[in-house]
């Protein structure tokens, strides 16, 4: 069904199609219309689910943790400080290997207060053990959320679907909402291997020792580090699983094909701009202009899967280019952009190694003017690799004073 709706409503429609059964949420801008929509769907009888109106984000994820552990598909969503407030639970859900899906409607974090978009909220949770997907339009919100449920449940690792606050959450775009019957074919009923059940009692997430320990039957049980190693190994394996799930999605719905990253005009590119979310869309205009006005063969690579980071695919996509420009809306304060660090690390073994530049844009919703992106990208393309001492400090684009 083709429709025109906001990004938040697209997410709510995806959650409904996924037949989530427990929704726990606490309002925070710009996530609020998403969870309001879900409560409205439940109220009207369009979505058969329990809505738990919790008193905090910490409790929102706690409810999801409880519900998933008891064998039911939950959903929550948040933004900014809400994500930070639930951070303990974010780590807990990953360690407990719970197949949760959460939408993060990206917003800058306080202080000072900002309600506008950047990626610092989600990026601050990148090492928690969640799969993190970034999307750049409403169709991707819909499709990625559906794929996220299947991925989370296949690998038993929680998934964050991250989309830009306001740029996507509050803008209206046309997209296709698939039919329920086909979604049901794509997404099997919820499954969790350790469901709380009085007839098969288990003590979940109990204190686990630094060394392996023998159970009552003489079997060796893993140590804490073994359990964490499994999470890492299976998270890396999730890259292939996501590709397989995307292929299955494509077969059913005719969309997809770029689950990890999406190159645009990269085939002959000498310079590739790397970005996440809506910023990658904005760079398509920049790339056109660089090609038409300056004869610079540029392309843009939109990273969809940020964690696990698909190192070898990023390397393959960028090997042989002269320069890589990483534009991002987050920062590891006192160092550099996190995505820049990841891309640079992925390219370390390339011979020759492309030059990589870092640009910080749009923090706290700072205006990102396409003209300014064009000017900074053009200058970088002209100068890259020519500096006497390459500077790996980030360039700030859009500072006011």
């Amino acid at each position: 069904m083709n429709t025109i709706e906001s990004g938040n409503v697209a997410a709510a429609m995806a959650v409904k199609l996924a037949r989530a059964e427990v929704i726990a949420a606490y309002p925070i801008t710009p996530q609020t219309p998403l969870t309001e929509k879900l409560s409205e769907m439940i109220d009207r009888g369009e979505l058969d689910a329990e809505y738990v109106a919790v008193e905090s984000e910490h409790s929102a994820l706690a409810v999801c943790i409880g519900a998933a552990s008891a064998g039911v598909r939950p959903f929550t969503a948040t933004s900014a400080n809400g994500l930070l407030y639930m951070s303990e639970q974010v780590h807990w859900a990953a360690g407990a290997r719970l197949p949760l899906v959460m939408c993060v409607v990206n917003r800058g974090v306080g202080a000072p207060w900002t309600v506008w978009n950047d990626h610092q909220d989600a990026i601050s949770q990148r090492d928690a053990g969640w799969i993190q997907l970034f999307v750049k339009d409403h169709q991707e919100i819909m499709d990625t959320t559906l794929k996220a449920f299947r991925l989370a449940e296949e690998v038993s690792i929680p998934v964050m679907v991250c989309y830009d606050g306001y740029y996507l959450s509050h803008t209206y775009m046309p997209f296709d909402a698939p039919e329920q019957e086909r979604v049901d074919r794509f997404l099997p009923p919820f499954h969790y291997a350790h469901t709380l059940d009085p007839s098969h009692p288990e003590n979940l997430n109990s204190v686990t020792m630094p060394d392996t320990r023998t159970d009552v039957h003489g079997e060796t049980a893993p140590s804490y580090m073994d359990i964490r190693h499994n999470l890492h190994r299976e998270m890396v394996q999730a890259i292939d699983r996501l590709e397989a799930i995307d292929a299955a999605f494509r077969e059913l719905f005719g969309r997809g094909g770029h689950p990890l990253m999406e190159p645009w005009r990269c085939d002959d590119a000498e310079f590739v701009i790397v970005a996440m979310g809506t910023l990658a869309n904005q760079f398509r205009d920049v790339v056109e202009r660089l090609r038409e006005q300056d004869g610079i063969r540029a392309g843009v690579l939109a990273i969809h899967l940020y964690r696990p980071f698909p190192n070898d695919r990023v390397q393959a996509a960028l090997a042989g280019v002269r320069g890589v420009l990483v534009y991002e809306k987050a920062l590891s304060y006192g160092n550099q952009g996190p995505l820049y660090g990841d891309v640079r690390s992925a390219l370390y073994d390339c011979e020759p190694r492309p030059a990589v530049e870092n640009f910080i844009v749009g923090l706290g919703g700072a205006g990102i003017r396409t003209g300014e992106l064009y000017r900074t990208a053009r200058q970088a393309c002209l100068e890259i690799g020519r500096q006497e001492t390459p500077d790996d400090a980030p360039h700030w684009v859009g500072l006011g004073v």
Partner: protein, 302 residues
């Protein structure tokens, strides 16, 4: 549910089946251990627990060994009531009557878990929430909590706690849940029967248990039950129930109404190392408070 129908459980009529295994990691003389053993008998098999970090986490065992036959979800410190709400929501979706039980300590209830607890009561979640109150953070080695009584020596109140004990059951009762009860580990069968009653009530049920802790209270292991009894029998710690907003003294406290004279509270304080810093003036003030409280009870209930 009627308050009169229930027959009192005795040591003889208590379910002989053990749901908690022997040989767990509780300290010698731990009264939480008694509560857990007896509590599981009241709850039976069809229940799921949500447990935050606490002595109970230790009692329940280190992975991969569990000291009971119950399904248990260990959860973060602040989230007990919320996680239990999530389990309850899932049970509702799955059409199961399984009783969901949150079982936390005083720190996990009165301090870090109070927000989630308050919200779960306000939402009217169909849960049993048990707080075993050993009046300090015992699992981390005896630090003061919101329910540590005034004057108590702990490892971060070296001259005695300056502030009074937080009255958590009263805070809970102010939310008007379906059921509130106070218990003492010294009277485990009273706890058993209140738990049994709570099981039969729909809505939020809260049970607060005074839980002597020999190492934390400076009490000999063999005297843990005696000290718990002294708290109740001196009239210092009251056992009561609040059903549909109606307060009544229950069990051993109810019996005190007709007693002419109760043992002095100073006996209770004198039994414990943690109260060494209390002076006579303070003890007299507490005695006066207890006398006034009971005079009020006699006026109200006799």
């Amino acid at each position: 549910m009627s308050t009169t129908a229930a027959k009192k459980t005795t040591a003889v009529s208590l379910d002989a089946e053990e749901y908690a295994h022997p040989g767990n990691r509780a300290c010698t003389g731990c009264t939480l251990n008694t509560l857990y053993r007896v509590g599981l008998k009241a709850l039976g098999r069809d229940c799921i627990f949500a447990v935050p970090p606490s002595c109970l986490t230790v009692v329940q065992g280190l992975y991969p060994i569990s000291s009971s036959q119950m399904p248990i979800l260990n959860v973060t410190f602040a989230s007990t009531a919320a996680a239990a709400s999530g389990i309850r929501a899932a049970m509702k979706r799955r059409g199961k009557k399984t009783q969901v039980v949150a079982w936390a300590g005083d720190g996990g209830t009165a301090d870090i878990g109070l927000q989630a607890l308050s919200a779960a009561i306000e939402r009217g979640e169909d849960l049993i929430y048990i707080c075993y109150d050993n009046e300090a953070y015992m699992n981390t080695g005896v630090q003061r909590s919101g329910t540590t009584p005034k004057g108590t020596l702990t490892n971060n109140t070296l001259s005695g706690k300056a502030e009074a004990k937080k009255d958590v059951p009263a805070i809970v009762a102010a939310h008007r849940p379906a059921y509130v009860a106070t218990c003492s580990a010294a009277f485990p069968l009273d706890f058993h029967d209140k738990l049994l009653k709570a099981k039969g009530i729909t809505g939020f049920k809260y049970i607060h248990i005074h839980t002597p802790c020999p190492p934390g209270w400076g009490v000999e292991d063999r005297l843990a039950i005696a000290v718990g009894k002294a708290a109740v029998e001196s009239g210092l710690y009251d056992l009561y129930e609040i059903e549909n907003g109606r307060f009544r003294l229950s069990g051993p406290s109810q019996k005190l109404l007709r007693k002419k004279k109760l043992p002095p509270v100073s006996d209770y304080f004198a039994m414990q190392g943690r109260f060494k810093a209390l002076d006579d003036a303070y003890l007299q003030a507490v005695q006066q408070e207890v006398d006034d409280k009971w005079a009020g009870y006699r006026e109200r209930f006799l």
